[in-house]
Symmetry: C2
């Protein structure tokens, strides 16, 4: 079955509507989604950025928040501008990476985006994370132990390094073999590319 | 009749496919296109950028050239990566602004993009500019005199200032009243917005 790799980061605004619709868009084209959480911090760092470009470039940032509101309205998604941006998605990314092996990763990812961009929760907060896992009927203590183990930390680091090597510079991104597509608005192009590959 | 303002700069890569399709996309929705040449240099300068973000951020730049090739292929447009990027579009923008008053502006704009992104010509070169105008059966000397007159230079400066005040930070962009849409890939959204306004 044709597949598209979906690269996302929990601090990334446009990754929110992308995560909410990627399975639907891919399924319509009979394409499998491979969810790839990664960290934008190191990827931005390699580009000399110490903050989100939406904070570095203020006018671009103002546009992005308005654009996000329009996109979410169009997609029928709730959206509230978070008081903290960008949030620290490190813990959530480690947990999500583990969840991809265990089948609950996509549902956890969607729950984290909902917490960040709808409910205004701090997704780096241990209590928030525990609540999200509990809502998904998961064993919080057991999952945190596996997610924060060194081998899983190393896997996330390696996946982030792999993102950079594939040419990623932002999120969300999509890859199909060596082809890279950047942005929520390239999702359909990436899925079509995968279907034809 | 509903209208969309199309903001473009001759050095901007994604403005090329946008300029080639904007009339077709707008006409299909019975929307009028108002062509707005402006200069990215001052707009980048206000953001602290002294070069194109595609040069400042190398990995993003590599992606952009591949993405441009894919987009142009999909749109049935020829495309050759120029040896000089970004080119200086100042003279062409002054001429194009004049041409918008006189009806030949859009055709001139498309000719400049063709010269830059297909033929590899330097569009700041006086000979290239004269050839482009001649091909459009225009009186080169008379047009250059009006285009390079102080009042026309001032108009381009004012239009660029107006772009910044409307929130623009890159090109191509589209505005419908106070609503801003950035990028060739937002053209359809902008045109739909205009049609509903």
């Amino acid at each position: 079955m044709a597949a598209v790799e979906f690269w996302f980061e929990f601090a990334s605004t446009y990754s929110y509507p992308a995560a909410m619709r990627v399975e639907r868009v891919a399924a319509a084209a009979s394409v499998q989604v491979i969810w790839r959480p990664f960290l934008l911090g190191p990827v931005f760092g390699k580009q000399g950025l110490t903050d989100s470009p939406f904070n570095v470039y203020e006018q671009k940032g103002r546009y992005m928040w308005r654009d996000m509101a329009r996109i979410c309205e169009g997609d029928g998604l709730a959206f509230n501008k978070p008081s903290v941006f960008p949030q620290n998605g490190l813990k959530a990314a480690r947990i999500c990476l583990l969840g991809m092996d265990e089948g609950w990763g996509p549902a956890f990812a969607r729950a984290v985006y909902q917490a960040n961009f709808v409910e205004g929760a701090l997704v780096s907060d241990d209590g928030v994370i525990a609540d999200l896992l509990s809502t998904l009927k998961l064993d919080v203590a057991a999952i945190l132990e596996r997610a924060y183990a060194q081998d899983n930390k190393d896997r996330l680091k390696a996946q982030t390094e792999s993102a950079w090597e594939k040419g990623l510079f932002g999120a969300p991104s999509f890859t199909v073999g060596d082809e890279l597509f950047w942005g929520n608005d390239r999702m359909e192009t990436a899925v079509t590319w995968a279907a034809k590959s």
